[in-house]
């Protein structure tokens, strides 16, 4: 099963993924012409602010079984047999909103597309066009910190498993900390304190 795996601690909230998503789904697939697009594409991946200035890039997880697909009364939401992606057949969507109501990730919004003049179910399409050309999704391509990884989920997990083992054994040996660079650890600590002192979400 191929997926976009989110390496949460690596997300720094730059929102390159959002811009890349908009550009990929624009008429000319070109950032400089996006502003001329009508309707203007919206990002189908959204980086949100959590507690302590930590961020999370949220998008459709292409669940299986997918609650949105199960609940769609017109069969507008379907699964691509080759890639496993959950997609919307725009002309079948009746904008009832059921898919959004049952989505565990609140990853579905309603927006006009070039083909549909009404607000229809608007979600991540897993960059299905790119995938057909053996390219990885645009958001992953844009991510420079490896917060978004694309691949076979078990392969990615086994990599992070190895990281966990390295970290634990380093800790036991008391050698140089394995994990995030020291400066980033300090920075995150500072930002956690600032979150506690101000109006933005904090763990306090």
């Amino acid at each position: 099963m191929k997926t976009v795996f989110i390496n949460i601690s690596r997300c720094i909230g730059c929102r390159h993924c959002e811009i890349a998503c908009i550009t990929e789904h624009s008429a000319k697939k070109d950032l400089s012409s996006v502003l001329n697009d009508e309707p203007r594409p919206l990002p189908r991946i959204k980086v949100g602010l959590g507690i302590n200035f930590l961020t999370f890039p949220n998008r459709c997880r292409h669940c299986d079984p997918a609650p949105c697909m199960q609940t769609c009364p017109t069969g507008a939401i379907f699964r691509d047999v080759n890639e496993g992606s959950v997609l919307v057949k725009e002309d079948k969507c009746i904008s009832c909103g059921m898919c959004a109501m049952v989505c565990p990730f609140s990853a579905i919004i309603f927006h006009n597309t070039r083909e549909a003049n009404n607000q229809i179910s608007y979600k991540c399409d897993d960059c299905i066009d790119r995938r057909k050309e053996e390219m990885i999704p645009a958001c992953v391509d844009a991510c420079k910190t490896d917060a978004l990884l694309f691949g076979e989920i078990n392969e990615i997990i086994s990599r992070s498993k190895q990281n966990v083992v390295m970290k634990i054994t380093s800790d036991i040996k008391g050698i140089e900390p394995f994990g995030e660079p020291e400066n980033i650890v300090i920075f995150k600590g500072i930002m956690e304190k600032i979150a506690g002192l101000g109006p933005l979400p904090s763990s306090n």
Binding site: R10, C11, I12, G13, C14, R15, V47, G48, L49, I51, F53, T55, K144, T145, D146, E180, P181, E182, N183, I184, I186, F187, I190, M191, K193, I194, G196, L197, G198, P199, L200, P201, S203
Partner: protein, 631 residues
């Protein structure tokens, strides 16, 4: 954990500020959907980590580039710059912007002295002749049997030349103790002129010039010194000459200074040159009369930000608030006109004013604001412009909707006006009593709490908490800028606040009748803190770096604060920042400014957002310095 969806207006207000006078207006903005800086901060989330860490370089069109802060494959920008260099270039860029802002403000004040001395200005005169003479002598300008205007002209010309001098030195720098200046010479950071350092900084951060991060940061120190001991110091000293050196005086502070039955004019920004003329115009009987004709009882001026601090220090004009109060003051519905000069004016301020009858009047050719009425200030026509501003406010008074007026009940009293001269005068004519009480341990040391507000931190919480902690530990606090406004609002600038101080500091305050937290002026007046440090150092025969002194900027946001913090550290003053500068993407830069810089200027930067923790760092530092001095 708090539930963010269900947060009510009251919770939001309490999370945003501790300024009680601001709360009702802030609640109104939330109820009515009037956008403020806090809403914009929310909407901007999440903010880009590359930018926060300083590893985003947007200087040339090979870029923009960024470095992977997790040390992945992306180690260099297209040009080849690594994280260290990108961070250092960005830091020098910020610092230079700040130094330029202070210094360009200083230049305008000096130009006004020149025009006043040569009969080209309208409404100005040399108010502090004694200070003019003292500075003339310091600069080597002949004063014997000369007309004050001739002296003023020569002083102005001398100082204007300091901006782009070919002498390769700035005269005011000689105020620093010899030991401190020796450190600068040895480190190669002795400032040469104001403009030169800034221009050179811009040159150094161009692609293909500076590639050594340490060398770039070293120039940052030099640039900051040209601000603190140059541009900012000129702004302070020449403003004193033109408008009077501040003396201790009573005033009031917080949004309650606005008056329900008067024409309210807020003077916001940084440079006092126009607003001083507005103060004079507002007293004209004819204008008072026309205000009365419109149904107002009079004309009420209120300061804001550092223009407010300048007017408070010299004229005792009440202050409505700091940087983060600007939109809220408008939301009281009682402001006829907000006059803005420059720096820290929200670009969207006219949109806020659109929700009320308030008119924003921009006055600087450098700082035009869309939606504002522009009445350009020039020294040659300053009185006319000031009068026109007051007339506009009076005309606008009937447009006020009384049903929307909501002014908080009572302002807080405070003392201001603690220039170095006023402090020395309060001590009986010399700085010696201060040195004696420091040596005797009654006052453990002195800390300058300075800088802005930042909406990421509950407004004034950092400033006020740190000040309280320090005075409790018998440390005298001197303040400028928004920090000073915070303490004023919190009642720390009253002689009675001595009760909040430790026993020994309390005793000193009570005997002198001064508060434990002293208002030393606007942000360019951080130069007064440098002069105070220099005086103490010279009296003790040591460099500033050896004094039991520290600096803090608990809620800073602006590039000017980067310059101030840097000239504090360069001058030997350990400085604790409450908000991290954009340098955490580089381990080497952090090591340099937090550790290795000790070997260069014998002081370091620290970052500690929690004001109680920050006070511990500062107290430790002060005790170490005392130990080294054997006091």
């Amino acid at each position: 954990m708090r539930n963010f969806d269900l947060k009510g207006i009251k919770d939001k207000v309490d999370e945003r500020t501790i300024d009680k006078s601001a709360k009702s207006a802030m609640a109104l903005t939330l109820r009515e959907g009037i956008e403020t800086v806090w809403d914009r901060l929310e909407k901007q989330q999440p903010q880009c980590g590359f930018g926060q860490l300083g590893v985003c370089c947007n200087r040339c069109t090979m870029g923009p580039c960024r470095i992977d802060p997790f040390e992945g494959g992306l180690e260099r920008g297209v040009c080849g710059a690594n994280a260290d260099l990108i961070v250092a270039r960005n830091f020098l860029d910020d610092l230079s912007t700040g130094a330029a802002a202070h210094s360009d403000h200083g230049r305008e004040v000096v130009e006004t002295l020149y025009k006043t001395s040569t009969g080209q200005s309208q409404g100005y005169r040399i108010v502090d002749r004694e200070k003019l003479n003292r500075i003339a002598v310091e600069l080597g300008v002949d004063v014997k049997d000369r007309d004050q205007n001739d002296i003023g002209k020569d002083v102005a010309l001398y100082l204007l030349e300091e901006f782009g001098t070919i002498k390769n030195s700035i005269k005011f720098v000689e105020r620093a103790p010899d030991q401190t200046r020796k450190i600068w010479k040895n480190a190669g950071i002795y400032p040469r002129s104001v403009d030169r350092e800034i221009v050179e900084a811009m040159h150094r951060i161009h692609m293909g010039v500076g590639a050594d991060y340490a060398n770039i940061l070293l120039h940052g120190l030099r640039t900051s010194l040209s601000d603190g001991w140059g541009g900012s110091m000129m702004a302070t000293e020449v403003s004193d000459i033109l408008f009077g050196t501040p003396e201790i005086k009573e005033s009031t502070i917080n949004m309650g200074v606005l008056k329900e039955d008067m024409v309210n004019v807020i003077l916001h920004g940084h440079n006092p040159i126009l607003s001083e003329m507005v103060v004079i115009a507002a007293r004209q009987p004819e204008l008072l009369e026309s205000a009365k004709k419109k149904g107002a009882k009079g004309i009420n001026l209120a300061g804001m930000c550092c223009t407010g601090n300048e007017l408070l220090m010299r004229k005792g004009v009440p202050v409505a608030g700091s940087f983060l109060n600007q939109e809220l003051a408008i939301a009281t519905g009682a402001v006829e006109v907000m006059v803005v000069d420059y720096q820290c004016i929200f670009p969207s301020i006219a949109q806020t004013a659109d929700c009320f009858h308030t008119k924003i009047i921009s006055t600087s050719e450098k700082s035009k604001v869309p939606g504002a009425v522009h009445m350009e200030f020039h020294p040659e026509t300053a009185s006319d412009t000031a009068e026109k501003i007051i007339r506009t406010a009076i005309e606008n008074y009937p447009m006020r909707n009384p049903d929307r007026v909501m002014i908080p009940p009572k302002p807080v009293k405070m003392l201001a006006g603690f220039s170095v001269e006023a402090i020395v005068k309060a001590l009986g004519g010399t700085a010696k009593p201060l040195i004696d009480v420091i040596a005797a341990g009654k006052i453990r040391g002195a800390v300058g709490i300075v800088g802005c507000n930042n909406p990421k931190i509950r407004q004034d919480y950092g400033h006020v908490t740190l000040a309280k902690e320090l005075i409790k530990n018998n440390i005298l606090v001197v303040e400028t800028g928004c920090a000073a406004i915070a303490s004023g609002k919190a009642g720390l600038m009253l002689p009675e606040a001595a009760e909040m101080a430790g026993d020994r500091l309390k005793e000193v305050c009570l005997s002198l009748g001064i508060p434990p937290v002293l208002h030393m002026g606007s942000c360019v007046d951080c130069s007064r803190i440098l002069v105070l440090g220099a005086e103490l150092g010279k009296a003790l025969g040591v460099g500033i770096d050896q004094l039991p002194m520290a600096g803090a900027a608990p809620e800073w946001y602006s590039q000017k604060a980067v310059s101030i913090a840097s000239y504090f550290v360069s001058s030997g003053v350990y400085t604790v920042l409450g908000v991290p500068p954009k340098i955490f993407g580089s381990k080497n830069v952090i090591n340099l400014v937090a550790k290795d810089i000790q070997n260069v200027v014998n002081a370091t930067f620290a970052v500690e957002p929690d004001p109680v923790e920050a006070s511990k760092l500062i107290i430790n530092h002060i005790e170490e310095k005392r130990k080294a001095l054997n006091i």
